[in-house]
Subunit: 359 residues, 5 copies
Amino acid sequence: MKKRRKKLTGKDNDVKHNVGAFPGELHYSGDVTGNDIKITLIQFNETEYTEEVFYDVKSMHAAEKPDLIKWINVEGIHRVDLIEEMGKIYGIHPLTQEDIVHVDSRPKFEEYSRYVVAILQMLYFESSVQSEHLGIVLFTDTVISFQEPRGGDAFDIVRNRLRECKGRVRKMGPDYLAYVLIDAVVDHYFFVIEKIGEKIEHLDDEILTNPGKSVMVEIHELKREVLLARKLIWPAREMVMNMMRSETDLISETHTIYLRDVHDHINRVTDTIEQYRETLNSIMEVHLSNNANKMNEVMKALTVISAIFIPVTFIAGVYGMNFENMPELKSPYGYWITIGIMLTIMIGMGFYFKRKRWW
Amino acid sequence: MKKRRKKLTGKDNDVKHNVGAFPGELHYSGDVTGNDIKITLIQFNETEYTEEVFYDVKSMHAAEKPDLIKWINVEGIHRVDLIEEMGKIYGIHPLTQEDIVHVDSRPKFEEYSRYVVAILQMLYFESSVQSEHLGIVLFTDTVISFQEPRGGDAFDIVRNRLRECKGRVRKMGPDYLAYVLIDAVVDHYFFVIEKIGEKIEHLDDEILTNPGKSVMVEIHELKREVLLARKLIWPAREMVMNMMRSETDLISETHTIYLRDVHDHINRVTDTIEQYRETLNSIMEVHLSNNANKMNEVMKALTVISAIFIPVTFIAGVYGMNFENMPELKSPYGYWITIGIMLTIMIGMGFYFKRKRWW
Amino acid sequence: MKKRRKKLTGKDNDVKHNVGAFPGELHYSGDVTGNDIKITLIQFNETEYTEEVFYDVKSMHAAEKPDLIKWINVEGIHRVDLIEEMGKIYGIHPLTQEDIVHVDSRPKFEEYSRYVVAILQMLYFESSVQSEHLGIVLFTDTVISFQEPRGGDAFDIVRNRLRECKGRVRKMGPDYLAYVLIDAVVDHYFFVIEKIGEKIEHLDDEILTNPGKSVMVEIHELKREVLLARKLIWPAREMVMNMMRSETDLISETHTIYLRDVHDHINRVTDTIEQYRETLNSIMEVHLSNNANKMNEVMKALTVISAIFIPVTFIAGVYGMNFENMPELKSPYGYWITIGIMLTIMIGMGFYFKRKRWW
Amino acid sequence: MKKRRKKLTGKDNDVKHNVGAFPGELHYSGDVTGNDIKITLIQFNETEYTEEVFYDVKSMHAAEKPDLIKWINVEGIHRVDLIEEMGKIYGIHPLTQEDIVHVDSRPKFEEYSRYVVAILQMLYFESSVQSEHLGIVLFTDTVISFQEPRGGDAFDIVRNRLRECKGRVRKMGPDYLAYVLIDAVVDHYFFVIEKIGEKIEHLDDEILTNPGKSVMVEIHELKREVLLARKLIWPAREMVMNMMRSETDLISETHTIYLRDVHDHINRVTDTIEQYRETLNSIMEVHLSNNANKMNEVMKALTVISAIFIPVTFIAGVYGMNFENMPELKSPYGYWITIGIMLTIMIGMGFYFKRKRWW
Amino acid sequence: MKKRRKKLTGKDNDVKHNVGAFPGELHYSGDVTGNDIKITLIQFNETEYTEEVFYDVKSMHAAEKPDLIKWINVEGIHRVDLIEEMGKIYGIHPLTQEDIVHVDSRPKFEEYSRYVVAILQMLYFESSVQSEHLGIVLFTDTVISFQEPRGGDAFDIVRNRLRECKGRVRKMGPDYLAYVLIDAVVDHYFFVIEKIGEKIEHLDDEILTNPGKSVMVEIHELKREVLLARKLIWPAREMVMNMMRSETDLISETHTIYLRDVHDHINRVTDTIEQYRETLNSIMEVHLSNNANKMNEVMKALTVISAIFIPVTFIAGVYGMNFENMPELKSPYGYWITIGIMLTIMIGMGFYFKRKRWW
């Protein structure tokens, strides 16, 4: 039930935040508690690479080296004080801070004078579609990514590549790094719709072979998953589009083609989501129709039985009457003739119904 | 019933107003009566803060101080004469006055030479979606907000902040104040859809566990709420969009990012409303299908009983006939054989139906 | 039937006109016959006001005074010769003339070198949605409105205001007068959707309390009304939008805000129409579901009766058999035991079905 | 079946053409055979008018007079060689030639350096919606219209007007003539939707009074007609829109208002088609609901009969048992009391069911 | 099952690629295995034509002649190393390489400094809609087309034309060749929808004459085909649109009309797909309604039989009771009167039901 409540009505603190909060004041709206945070500072250029973990902002900030590209990954957007401290040091606008800590923020891209920020949702699939809030802030030589504490595995691949110096990412600027992070998130979207797709396939096979009783509920659950995925992914498309069209100097012109690529990927995901929605509707129609057909078959068969026996039972009833003067009863062949008539009627009706394909 | 009538056909005076009124002539179209009004004049800058309540326009106007930012909150748009008086003093265009007193006006943003005006609907949820009309007029150094008399609590939080000098609002211009008021209204939208979302969740749980008889009616009522909320919120999005794009000098360029934020919030609300609409449809389909299935189960079980007993009842009828010449009747084992045949038929049919999963 | 035929296939002469007519040739396509026409010439400025009725164009034209604003209301677009005469005198383009006399023209706004013209549909509600064709031609100092002869009451309010010199209309130019006329028409749209809304409300109450047999037909009729209203009102929105955006000198820049207001009104009407469409669908779903439920209840109850009595009837049948050797029959308590078994079976089944909520 | 196959899968040669043909190579894709062609050359100005019929291109071309406006109507797009010859003489681009002979081309307007071309579909209604392919090519002083051979009657009215020198068409340029031809085609669209509208009206009356068994099939057929009409007419709208916006010198600025008029006509047709689609859906819903209701009534009545007689039949069965010791049987009033109980039960159930409105 | 899984969840390696791959790193995502590749180098100008087959890139590249237009057809996008080699030699951007080898890429058109690339899907129909990935890269004097190895027949026609020097293709530049290749692909779309159309026609005939049990499943399968075709074709439209609007020098201005033509073709395909979708829905509605009607007929007939016999069976039961004092039993005509009453009841009910059209 919890899982479902989350989907429709957002995380718990949501209401309080929205109503009680003043614009620009920070209230974490997710459901993570505790004070654990972890700040990973990765500094690199084509030749150097260092990776350090800190548990407070100041010491991390002190460790930054001027000539390297810096990627600061902050796990712990539930610690509002931390975000505010980061905000002060790096000059992040309070509205941006709000978007970062508010886990239900809509994906968006915004330009500020000193930085640009992309807010988006990481999706993963654990029996249902789950989302995790992400904020990626891009400065001239620094990328800061903000995550919920449990997160992080989506970026592992990026980290590995940086370490191993594979790919172009070490050679290119922080905007390319930001793109790589967004690309990693969008790649996960495929994962999620793939999972939903498999479930739909499974359902599709099931309704044709051996539909269980809960098919409608499963369709309903899958529809909810699809609706949720659509709601979360759809604005990401707009976000990337705005990023592409942005005229900021922070994203170099030549890297726009990479964003175009991400945009195409999201388009493919949303195309697929639409296809799934319609497929689910079609599956539901088949299922309902199959159900109705099966029911009809049963009812027809059963009713045919009644229809065949009721008339002959009536005849039996007639000759079971106790009138004194019933000449047929005395006829020595009366019984056999009656039985014969009954069988004739039954067989006749059976044939008639058969010919009319009533069973 | 009253509640519902309101939703579909607007407040009572609506028709009369629309048909009988001449453009630019004021007729209050809400359902508040009485003459009670209340004008709150709040004047502040970064250091000063005064808050006074007046019950007529002139004395309020006399109390204004030139160097402070003024927020005039007028509770009482049902007193048309009051609005006209305000209009004359502050130079508010008759069409704007009309939009302010006409409680069914569509949310909109309009620019006039001396001011800009935002008309919108405050939503709250008291067993159903209720709306309250609001007008916010922004001058160079003054913000006038017009409300229905029962209203006001949505702005309490703003007032508290001003008093306590929390947040940025005391340091910034009247355009920021106007933004804060609009933001407070939009925050309430989340409240309302949250409530609807909870009801939908409740319904969703209910149909899977213990659906009552009135589920369809509840779905219908929720659909109406969702449709109403959509109708009221949708144009607000356009309103904020127009406000963002406006080139008026009254809204400083640097504050546009705040409006962008409000716009994102409304987008999130409308995304959620669409999700709710589809979820309600899906819930309805599950409910109808469950209903049909349950009915089918019952009918099948009952019909199977008939089908099993009717043939054997016929046999009993046959041997209940009173023919004189029925040799079986005289056989000492006739009865037991017949009983045996009957049981065989019944058990056979029972197995057959079982195997065919007819019950 | 007549009423309905009108809605879907247009007025009777429609086809003949469309196919046989040549562009720019006038054929009245409405269903008014007779030769009665009435031309009302109202001339006014801020101080003067004259109102004269004429029955031919020439004498009317002769009565025009150069310095006054002139409003010529022509009732009688069925008299094509009249429109042609007007066209020659005032320089109205043949295509405009055609739009004026063709009662099924789509609402539109068009600019010509010497005038602008607004074609629209007046709606009223007499047991169903009815429309009346209107053309408003605006010259530098003259407004000509063309109506079908039965029309006119929508403009009475405007006439009264002019006479009584109330409102701004006497002080302002002919473009304001044209706006006031269009506003009067759009105000009537609210009237019509209000009526439809009341009918929908009525239906909504009815289906929950005491649905009649004709509910589906009523829903169907209301859907037709809503579809018709939508078809007629929708293009009016575009018309006003074009009028707003027009760069003609005939409409002064400062009056555009009035058109913006009309545009908002039409938007509100179309929002409401969409809401009605969806509400009707929802009502229909509730109604169909209620119907099915009620039917299911009945069938279940009736079938339960059969299911309870059929097995015990079989037992009775068994002991009604006439075998000579049926030991139970001779037992002194056989009858009572049998009755007991029967009652046990019946009560047992009754309880079982009850527990399973089958009735 | 043939008729229908045409609708969904295009004319027979379609596939072969599409797959086998190379761009710019001509293959007639319609189903007309034979070699009959007919070229009508009409030359006119305000004072002169000549009309000649030719059966080959060269002699026709030789008969052209330089100072007159020329309208060449070619009946016979199935003769690809003819079109190629025309193309060479008049400088028509191969792609245009292809669009002309390919009878399933989408309506479109294209500008070439020396001419503009409008491709559209003439619709007529012969028990179902039929289409005929048309191409209208406009040069500086010549209009060439290409038709399938059976066609032509749509243009008769234009020809008559030219002959009789009625209307403006003789006084104006070839662009006006082209407009008049397109207008004649669009006027026919009204004809077709009028016919469909009548059929829908008929169906609507029928379902309320005396629905036949084939109502669903008729609705289905009408939906197909409406879908086909929409598919054919919709792109024509875009075509006229492109024509209006075209900046070609061949269409004089002052004639754009005529195209605007045609555009409005098509808009009206498409509005009506949408209305029809929704009306058909509504009719279907009413029909299905009526059907279900009627069925329900029957089933209820029949089941009530069973429910009333089954319990009393059971009682009769009890007293038909042959137990030796059944004291009631010996009671002199037993029979009458039993009959009384039976009647009481039957009447009681009858009343109960009646009160519950079960029949 | 395999076939279906492919449709919804993409080819097998898809997930791995998406999640594990880094942007710009190549992983073939199709299901072709083996190392077979085939590179066809066609070089031509208006007078010359050579065609050679190679099995490695270098020898092919060495065979290129500077003055001819070159068409390199690479069959074997599963060999990532090959694509990388081609990329190095011809300067193809890694993202383009990725789009080429990733067989589920969305159709798109992209401009790079040295070339433009069109990614699209070839469709063919082998019992279901199948797709094949294609990439067409256009340089100043070279066209490179990348295919999956099994492909190729779609381009046969182009090759034949080049060989036979038919059509314009030999005389025009490489951009025309690229257009011709795209046109060949789009022509195949007609093929596919034609096939689907035929199946829909077949189904449409079938449901009216002799619907099988699997009609719903067939409708479902066809819907899936239509959805898949739509998903694959829809973005191709955008692709061609982008190609038309592109301002690259590689596509000469005068060839844009050819792309306009392709665009029209795709539009026609998508129009038809929409028509199919709605037709399938309509067919389904007819089918479901027919099914329900047939069932209703059967149930009514069977229930009428019960309703007629149950009352008379009751009467028989009454006179089968064994009360000692039942005067009717002794009446000599009692039996005949009873039989008469029974027949009267049965015939009466029969007539009554007949008149009410219950059977």
